[in-house]
Amino acid sequence: MRVTFTVNGRPQEADDVWEGESLLYVLRERLGLPGSKNACEQGECGSCTVRLDGVPVCACLVAAGQAEGREVGTVEGLADHAARRAGGTSADRARQWRPDPADTVELAPVQRAFIDAGAVQCGFCTPGLLVAADELLEHNPDPSDADIREALSGNLCRCTGYEKILDAVRLAAARAAEGD
């Protein structure tokens, strides 16, 4: 079958999709967007978290056909999404400038915070956590620790013990508040 939907604001079309394929498989293997991760493919780990019409979902549990005509947001589109939401160059984005060319990639504030706080180790959980954390900060710009824990409880991380992930979300929230 053919599936037509929007990914990170761009129209996409996938052909020869087998009915059993998940949205995750189509993103990774047919659209060349492997950022959403395949840690469990059982809906337990959250590493494939994407936004489907704005709502965080496990892409491994969404049949590709269910995405027909809908909007999908993945980690690859996070920086653009944050920029559109901010409606221009934020203080945080301005601060992101680095002289090293490897570091001049446009990042969403939550992405920058994950790097700065040491929340990334192996990084396999990171894309899903970023999508979930960005969604949290979108509707709750000043989350308590309990809020953060609740919002990220569907995302497993095996490396960090979560402390630095909490730090990163707090940091992103604090920077956003400072930039207001």
Partner: protein, 793 residues
């Protein structure tokens, strides 16, 4: 609080920004947060096929026949391979080559690979594999020491010829290591208080998030290029090449992005399988396990049964320790012999005891194979000896920390192996550190409004009361872990470092085969190069087999050994640069010959700070390169009868204090805080060090209260191969983890550093269980602690 006692002079070289000791950020961080970092499971190749592995549904069975015809006839299927199709060596293994590449007439554990399929879609491969007809004749299973060594027990590996076969008491025992020192029987006669205990640890899974995966691409020269997630490229290579019947130079390996490891990638998983299919079909083949398969695709932490007897005098001094540790190695040896060596030699913990009588064994059973996992034999022992220390303290009416302090080892202490601990061993200090941290407030679920915040209660939003039956407990534990490969292993790393000018700016390039699995070795290598070469820009080359072995990313060894190799290669480059400088400019300034020279800020300077030349002028378009192997000081094997020997190169220590709240009615535990203090020798990157400690601590928490691969004792089949039923801590299960870092230099190690990755995984588990015991008064001899252990139901 931070105590820094690094002796002067250990840190050579310059003080360039971004060097060692700073929390520089990961060089791969940007790629990892944008989703562009290429993990092994993200790889793609034109015309690529997908491989799938058919696995045994039985734990022990004879294979009467295999019929692949229906699978082969499936449209889209390019190849099906069984044992009969293997071109060369049919077995492999880290130490003992006892593991079949594909089952050879017998399967010895649930999930053992039987056949391979390559097809144009993963689902086609999966469905074709289901059409392979295997006729099994089930055989009786052995699942524990009793059944494995009973008269008439099936011998799983008849005709063993490995180097442990001669000294084990039964062919179903992989290895046995006694440690005998002093006279435990005589010491017992002088003892006031004796406590005994039997302890049990379930099978823990590494549960790295990035599944086993790789891409094998056949090459025109008859060889193969393998892009792979692993912990040790060259150990894989040594095992894969004979299976393919190829010389090692025709198997070229490149490290892909690795989504965690924790020991679970030390053994081969799909490496040889993907290469076999690629060479068989002439097409690139990718294999990616899903989570279900991953639980069968790698070895686990050895479950253990431990029997301990401790004696102490009335004044609170340990007089003797007797212990017997039985580790279940499962169907194949993997790294069981080394795990036995660790469990035995570290069985007493970081305490001074002159008289010990220890025996550790690993079994062959039909349970899933077990091998390396973070902590490697020391985790099992630590759970038991720390429970014993609490029991003894209670018998002696002493505070558990005070009792430990009275027996804590320090530098100069003698291990049960006779080895003198010849670098700092701040055991008492670490306990003091965690004890001194402020305790978290009690009853944090109570709110000003009156209705409790149930999120702060055991059980969280569901399964929870309003705190009526909740009691608090505090527990302590401390552990000792060896660093590096032990028992005489030639443990070395190779590093190649180049210094050149690019667009007028000096750039260092570091090339090693070190597997970056998330630990941050790439960050540290760049820091070392900046420190030693005084340049701002460092490029880390991808890890591959075009450079010599970097050893394994395990045993907490990479910063020590590959870091040491990078440091020494940088020093060699630096000397060459000074040589070039003397050649070119020596006649211009006498300091070239007389002064101590430094490389700093892209310039050659004297130690007095006088600039002699810029690096660009010295290099003058040339590049300077050095490649070398670096070894830590040698160790020696443990005597097979007494266990005596200089077996470990370095020891690493951490202590934990756990604060738990237990809902005694529901049998639920909430760990409220898990404080850790660790001596790291020298924190090359404090941010990464803290991350390692917090991550290791959390894996210990998981082992304490939730993580276990449940194996049916009657069938030896795995019952919970999913993240639905094998639970690892979520962010809700994981408490605040305050970390106290000590930096007491080990003068034998580069920069005085100490390997850090594993120690925090040891004491975390016993500290949590000690806290639960204190809260409930229950003896709790087994981990993970389950609700029924707490409610007695």
């Amino acid at each position: 609080m931070r105590i820094t006692r690094t002796p002067a002079g250990l840190t050579q070289g310059s003080r360039t920004k971004g060097g060692i000791g700073e929390s520089t950020l990961r060089p791969d961080g940007t790629l990892k947060v944008t989703g562009e970092f290429a993990y092994a499971s993200d790889l793609w190749h034109e015309d690529m096929l997908w491989g799938f592995t058919l696995r045994s549904p039985h734990a022990h069975a004879r294979i009467r026949s295999v019929d692949v015809s229906q699978a082969l006839a499936t449209p889209g299927v390019h190849a099906v391979m069984t044992h009969d199709d293997l071109p060369a060596a049919t077995r492999y293994g880290l130490e003992i080559q006892d593991t079949p590449v594909l089952a050879d007439g017998v399967v010895r554990h649930h999930g053992e690979p039987v056949a391979l399929v390559a097809a144009d879609h993963p689902e086609t491969a999966r469905r074709a594999a289901a059409k392979i007809l295997v006729d099994y004749e089930q055989l009786p299973v052995v699942t524990d020491e009793e059944s494995a060594t009973a008269p008439g027990a099936p011998v799983l590996h008849p005709g063993r010829s490995d180097h442990h076969a001669g000294h084990v008491p039964h062919p179903n025992i992989v290895h046995r290591q006694p440690i005998v020192r002093g006279d435990a029987a005589a010491a017992k006669a002088r003892t006031d208080v004796i406590v005994t205990g039997e302890y049990e640890m379930g099978m823990q899974d590494q549960a790295f998030l990035g599944p086993e995966s790789g891409l094998a691409v056949p090459a025109d020269d008859g060889g193969v290029d393998l892009y792979i997630a692993t912990q040790w490229l060259h150990a894989d290579l040594r095992q894969i090449a004979p299976v393919l019947g190829l010389p090692e130079e025709k198997v070229r390996m490149t490290l892909s992005g690795v989504g965690g490891a924790f020991g679970g990638r030390e053994d081969l998983s799909m490496q040889a399988h993907a290469c076999l299919l690629a060479l068989h079909t002439g097409k690139p083949v990718k294999i990616v396990y899903n989570r279900f398969e991953s639980f069968f695709g790698h070895v686990h932490r050895h479950p253990a049964k431990l029997r301990y007897e401790h004696g102490a005098t009335r004044d609170g001094k340990l007089s003797y320790v007797k212990a017997r540790i039985v580790l279940d190695g499962g169907a194949y040896a993997s790294s069981s012999p080394a795990v036995v060596g660790n469990a035995a030699s570290l069985s007493v913990g970081p305490y001074v005891v002159d008289d010990v009588d220890i025996e550790a064994v690993a079994l062959y059973t039909n349970n899933p194979p077990c091998g390396a996992m973070r902590g490697f034999g020391a985790v099992q022992a630590c759970f038991a000896y720390e429970a014993q220390m609490d029991k003894l303290a209670a018998e002696l009416d002493l505070d558990p920390v005070e009792f430990r302090r009275r027996n804590a080892m320090s530098q100069g202490a003698v291990m049960p192996t006779g080895q003198v601990v010849d670098s700092p061993a701040p055991v008492a200090e670490l306990l003091r550190c965690v004890k001194a941290m402020p305790l978290p407030p009690e009853r944090q679920w109570e709110t000003a409004g009156g209705s409790p915040d149930v999120r702060a209660l055991p059980g969280g939003l569901s399964n929870t009361t309003h705190g009526e039956g909740v009691v608090r407990g505090v527990g302590y534990a401390v552990g000792i872990k060896n660093v590096g490969f032990s028992e005489g292993f030639d443990d070395y790393s190779t590093a190649r470092v180049r210094l050149e000018t690019v667009a007028g700016e000096p750039v260092a390039t570091v090339h090693t085969a070190m597997a970056e699995v998330g630990q941050g070795g790439v960050t540290v290598h760049a820091q070392i190069a900046r420190t030693e070469l005084g340049v701002a820009r460092v490029t880390i080359q991808p890890a591959d087999t075009r450079v010599g072995s970097a050893g394994s990313t395990s045993a907490s060894r990479q910063t020590y050994v590959t870091g040491g190799a990078v440091k020494h290669a940088c020093e060699a480059v630096r000397e060459k640069v000074f040589g070039l400088g003397r050649e070119r400019f020596g006649s211009h300034h006498p300091a070239w010959a007389t002064a101590e020279l430094l490389l700093e800020g892209g310039k050659v300077t004297t130690d007095g700070g006088e600039v002699l030349a810029s690096l660009a002028d010295v290099l003058d378009g040339e590049s300077v390169e050095a490649e070398l192997e670096w070894r830590h000081r040698p160790t020696e094997p443990f005597d097979l009868r007494t266990g005596q020997g200089f077996g470990h190169v370095q020891y690493s220590f951490a202590a934990h204090r756990a604060v738990v709240e237990v809902d005694t009615e529901l049998g639920l535990v909430k760990v409220v805080e898990l404080a850790c203090a660790q001596d790291v020798g020298k924190a090359l990157n404090p941010l990464s060090v803290t991350g390692q400690i917090q991550g290791g601590t959390t894996q210990g928490l998981g082992l304490a209260v939730m993580e276990e691969i449940v194996v049916d004792p009657a069938t030896a089949k795995v019952r919970n191969p999913s993240f639905t039923d094998y639970l690892i801590p979520t962010i809700l299960d994981t408490p605040a983890i305050p970390v106290d870092i000590l930096e007491l230099a080990d003068e034998h190690a580069p920069y005085g550093l100490r390997g850090i990755g594993e120690a925090p995984t040891l004491s975390s588990t016993p500290a949590v269980v000690a806290a639960i015991r204190q809260a409930t008064g229950l003896p709790l001899r087994r981990v993970p602690v389950r609700p029924e252990h707490l409610t007695g139901t």
